[in-house]
């Protein structure tokens, strides 16, 4: 296929396919949520790919090159998302009463198991080269390690289900789901969250290596097309778009998350084959990226991830960023090993950088902040050890 067709025709066909599927789903009984989730996933995929919104890559850019742009996009996404989420939560639950949580919000149990899960997740993303959401959009860029990271994550989920019951009776049963508005009210939560995020932002800017500014481009057809389809979107734009998608997804269907479907598939297969315990204590009562034994083929999270993968592929094609490469043994090994750690961490911590960190902090959940701290620590440990071993993590 000629480059022109690859970069224009193929993305148009892919996105049209999503549109047609969304239209079809909308007409099915109970299909409104599915249709919305598919479109939200597509929007999220495009923003992730165009903004290179990858938690690990952004973290590494800052640690290794003092380039704060990627992390600033995350900071903007957190701050704006906290504000947007509060607009929704304050309409739904006007008074934060004890014992009541906003429906479906990812307010997970806070305890040592969460910290450990986040740490494992962070190490896993450093080994594999991305977090799970980024592996999903990097599938569309032809990343050689991403398919193996996702397979590894499936294995990690399986191990997570096996270790769930002992961990639950050991500690999770006593881990409280702490929602900041219960303690600080909505105003206090907004102020504290925004202050913490501002401190992170200020530190990033203070230690910034002052990266080269992007070359100015003209506001004509060619310049704008280049900005939109080829150049990386600026951090503030990316962050705001992520926050908007997060809040609208919460308003309409469920908080953002990318692991529920993967976990559900593993759980369904594991239960059906008798390899997983019949009862996973308390799991279905906890808040987060819920894994359920599947009753229907299509789920909201499943079509969300489907939209994400297809649309990010379309965006990568349009930007000329689909560059597949034959995976080396090292790609396979790193993908699988990192994926297993991430899968175990995402199962045990009830989500990943999107489901727990982003959706949790947006909702005023302490679990989101705990995940942020320990996941960053894990990523830092993983990167440092990799460097010491003389093997730099694969380029994203």
């Amino acid at each position: 296929m000629k480059s022109g067709a690859t970069r224009t025709l193929a993305p148009v066909v892919l996105l049209s396919g999503i549109a047609v599927l969304a239209w079809y789903l909308h007409g099915q009984p109970g299909g409104r949520d599915l249709s919305f989730s598919l479109l939200a996933g597509a929007a999220f995929g495009i923003v992730l790919q165009r903004g290179r919104f990858c938690f690990l890559c952004n973290f590494r850019d800052f640690v290794e090159k003092r380039d704060p742009r990627g992390l600033l996009a995350i900071v903007v996404a957190l701050a704006a998302g906290v504000a947007f989420y509060h607009a929704v939560m304050m309409a739904w639950v006007p008074v934060p009463q004890p014992g009541r949580l906003p429906p479906n919000a990812h307010i997970g149990p806070v305890g040592p198991v969460l910290a450990f899960a986040a740490l494992a997740f962070g190490i896993g993303m450093a080994i594999s080269g991305s977090c799970l959401s980024a592996h999903l959009y990097r599938l569309g860029e032809g990343s050689p390690s991403s398919p193996f990271a996702l397979i590894g994550a499936g294995i990690g989920f399986f191990i997570g289900f096996l270790t769930w019951n002992p961990l639950f009776t050991l500690a999770i049963y006593a881990s409280p789901a702490i929602w900041l508005p219960h303690r600080l009210g909505y105003t206090g939560t907004l102020l504290v969250s925004l202050a913490l995020i501002a401190v992170i932002g200020l530190l990033l800017l203070r230690f910034s290596g002052n990266p080269e500014p992007a070359a100015p481009s003209r506001y004509d057809l060619r310049g704008t097309a280049g900005k939109l389809f080829v150049d990386r979107w600026p951090p503030v734009t990316t962050g705001l778009l992520v926050a908007i998608i997060s809040a609208i997804a919460y308003l309409r269907v469920a908080p953002l998350g990318v692991t529920a479907e993967l976990g559900s598939i593993v759980r369904t297969a594991g239960s059906a084959s008798g390899l997983l315990p019949d009862t996973l204590h308390g799991l279905d009562l906890l808040r987060g990226c819920a894994t359920v034994v599947k009753q229907t083929l299509l789920s909201a999270n499943g079509v969300f991830v489907l939209g994400l993968v297809i649309a990010s592929f379309a965006a990568a094609l349009a930007g000329g960023q689909f560059q597949p490469r034959r995976p080396t043994n090292r790609d396979v090994g790193k993908g699988l090993a990192g994926g297993i750690l991430m899968g175990w961490g995402a199962m045990t911590g009830l989500g990943c950088t999107v489901g727990v960190l982003l959706s949790g902090i947006h909702a005023g959940a302490v679990s989101g902040w705990v995940f942020l701290i320990f996941c960053a620590l894990g990523a830092w440990i993983g990167m440092t050890v990799s460097r010491r071993l003389g093997k730099a993590a694969p380029a994203a």
């Binding site: 309409a91 739904w92 639950v93 006007p94 014992g99 906003p102 429906p103 308003l251 269907v253 009753q295």
Partner: protein, 303 residues
Amino acid sequence: MNFLRRAGVLVGAFFMVGAAHAAEPLVTADWLQDNLEKPDVRVFEVSVDTGVYERGHIPGAVHLDWHTELVDPTRRDIASREDFEKKLREAGVTADTHVVLYGDNNNWFAAWGAWVFNVYGIEASLLDGGRKLWEAKGLPLDTAAPQYAASEIVLPERNDDLRARFTEVLDIAEGRKQASLVDIRSNDEYIGKVFAPEGVKELAVRAGHIPGAENVPWGSIVQEDGTFKPAEEIKAIYAAKGIDGSKPIVTYCRIGERSSHTWFALKRILGYDVKNYDGSWTEYGNAVGVPVVNVAGTVWTGK
């Protein structure tokens, strides 16, 4: 004279407190749409799927949480008078308010709500067809939680004439009391092929039904769109089973919520003398030493 006047006040007060607003059992979606703005109409949503109410409810509807507000969250019982009264006061319900309930899952839990309202002296209406029909008609939904000026309503004590307890059901099963038992679960549960529908957690360790119970699955009195069949048809369906309202009736299911739906049809639509047995099969089927009919003969093996 003074005595008579005082007695009159007392009787009046009794009716204000006890009888409250007597409403038509069912209202249509169109009627509700036209009457939403009326200050004496108060709509409650009783949906059990999380986030359903918050993501869009009938404008002005108040949320009633089945797991915490319509039952006692600690002991297995309906909501206490104090808690329920507090909730109704917050929602601005007075003795003159026309309460309308609706919900997801075929109005099952809304019907439980209507039963609890009735136990506490308020005859509530159900939105026929529930949430599903409202959505199917494309009628508007709202996401904001409404605020109403608090009322001073005082609820009467529970009306036990609407509620059957275990000992009474046992008396019927063992022939010491004359009444018709209606088991509204699926036929598979009734004849004892299965202990419970697939996927539910609350179980009984015995399969089958209470001796003498007639099986009329709840769905047999409901039309395709979720609305109740016409009263005459419901009457005929029950008459064919020998239940014509000449004897008191007790309805039961597994946990008492689907049977509220049938209780509503028999009591409120047909006007029969009906009690709902909220202990239902999860109480009776777990009780020690009570008679059970298990046609299929399925044995509990703990698996």
